[in-house]
Amino acid sequence: MTAVPLATSFVQSQSFLDVLYIVAFGLFIQGLRGLAGPTTAVRGTRIAAVGMAIAVIATLLNPNEGNWGLIALGIALGAAVGVPAARQVKMTAMPQMVALFNGVGGGAVFLISWSEFRLTHGYSHTATYIAIFSLFAAIVGSVSFWGSNIAFGKLQEIIPGRPITLGGAQQVVNLVLLVLAVAAGAYIASGEHSQGIFIGMLVCAALLGNAVVLPIGGADMPVVISMLNAFTGLSAAATGIALNNPALIVAGMIVGASGSILTNLMATAMNRSIPAIVAGGFGGGGAVEGASGAGEHAGTVRSTTAADAAIQLAYASHVMIVPGYGMAVAQAQHAVRELTKALEARGVEVNFAIHPVAGRMPGHMNVLLAEADVPYDQLEEMEEANQEFARTDVSLVIGANDVTNPAAKNTPSSPIYGMPILEVSESHSVIVIKRSMNPGFAGIENELYYEPETTMLFGDAKAAVTEITAELANI
């Protein structure tokens, strides 16, 4: 039994099971279509979850299935870890959680490939293409597993968020690791059965995963998380081809497509090429340029108080709130919602301007504001918001930095030049809530703070917003 090559035994699987798989991936696609709008999204994910249940049941019906005790053990272990984690995670910690879930997916992929290698005695009596897809899955899965774990560590601040880089040698090291992993894979595919080579390939891929993500700064995280998501999807699709399982192929490929689209969107929103982000080290060079550029500012920074800010906001007719990662860190989303309510009670129109890369993953701000019950029709995307700023009396920037920096439009020498920004400085006045004058993740001085219409309210985002709300009640 153990010597039976995987491929042939699965070619014999019943048509009924295949029909179940087709139903399952149909439900995945239908479910994802539901994500086109907030009202249909809940039902959409539940449809996808039903699809997943059908796919799992179909697999368990397989006549070759066995080792039931171990299956139960694995599922019980996974549920014991996954359920509490998903129930308890805070919305601000969502990027870490997604990175971690993504990592375990990649981990499962490379472990499955490894066991395929072992069970087929180094892919002997196996079609070469199956070996190739299985090896591809092993390499990409391993990169994704280790990369996601590093991303998790950075977001959770177990590892410093600043780029950790080998400097000029970084690209060379990455390239060497990639070539070694691919060469080991090619050697195995050409008929080598040694498990040592396979493990060597996994190690190279693991080091590559570390080497790619460690040099990436916190601000580039939305891109990296999207990219790793795409990787895991593609590796799952490859596993599907190796195991001749249509549900795996479709689901993996759709995730690959989704991750690729998001990666591209995020990179465009930062005006950076994906290779440049993967090459890493944004904070390094930029910080030096930013620091030397600081002296050029002729303007001075004016600071304000919560009482003055409250007066400014109370007599505005249109206020635009610009949230950023600082709001998430301070857990200020509920306080912001209270402020919004207090302003609306005074007849002030309040909207939120959301930059695509605000936060640490795509759409992060929207989730936090939804958690605080901000209606999503108050949220405006960048293009929309940029048309509104001219008729905005006060823009209230809460913990956002680089995405509001006019240098991206005006200063060709700036490292972020060309990045689309929220044109906050178009509004009549700007209040920036910020801890200190420290530059953001990109390490670049923000010219917005020196402009005459800008005032700074220094302090913790949550405390400052709560204080403004309290002051509003006294007006």
Partner: protein, 117 residues
């Protein structure tokens, strides 16, 4: 030739799924990108199937069993955790019944434990 046709069938599925993926995902608004990511994350937990299929063949060999149990556990974390967390997020996006200003402003101050409300 059987093997070649299996490969071409699977490659066709792969390519078509890629196109469908692009079309479907392109329609998802920016607002829902985080749930999209965690939802697709849950879907790639489908590698669990690979673990389930392979463990049926792992007749003997403790090491094979160990890595496959880990793979199954990983896949389960991915699926169960991913769907639960996506569901939790999307519940928050549901339009709330409006005009209920009866909540006291005092209680909302410490939003630290603001979980699925």
């Amino acid at each position: 030739m059987v093997i070649a046709s299996t490969l071409t069938t699977n490659l066709s599925i792969l390519v078509l799924a890629g196109f469908i993926g692009f079309v479907v995902i392109s329609k998802v608004p920016n607002t829902l990108h985080t749930p999209l990511m965690s939802g697709t994350n849950a879907i790639h937990g489908i590698v669990l199937l690979g673990g389930l299929l392979t463990i049926g063949l792992a007749g003997n060999g403790t090491f094979n069993k160990v890595i496959l149990v880990i793979a199954i556990a990983f896949g389960t974390i991915n699926i169960v955790g991913g769907f639960l967390v996506t569901d939790r997020m999307l519940e928050m996006f549901k339009p709330k019944p409006k005009a209920k200003p009866d909540t006291t402003d005092a209680g909302k101050g410490d939003g630290g434990d603001g979980k699925a409300s």
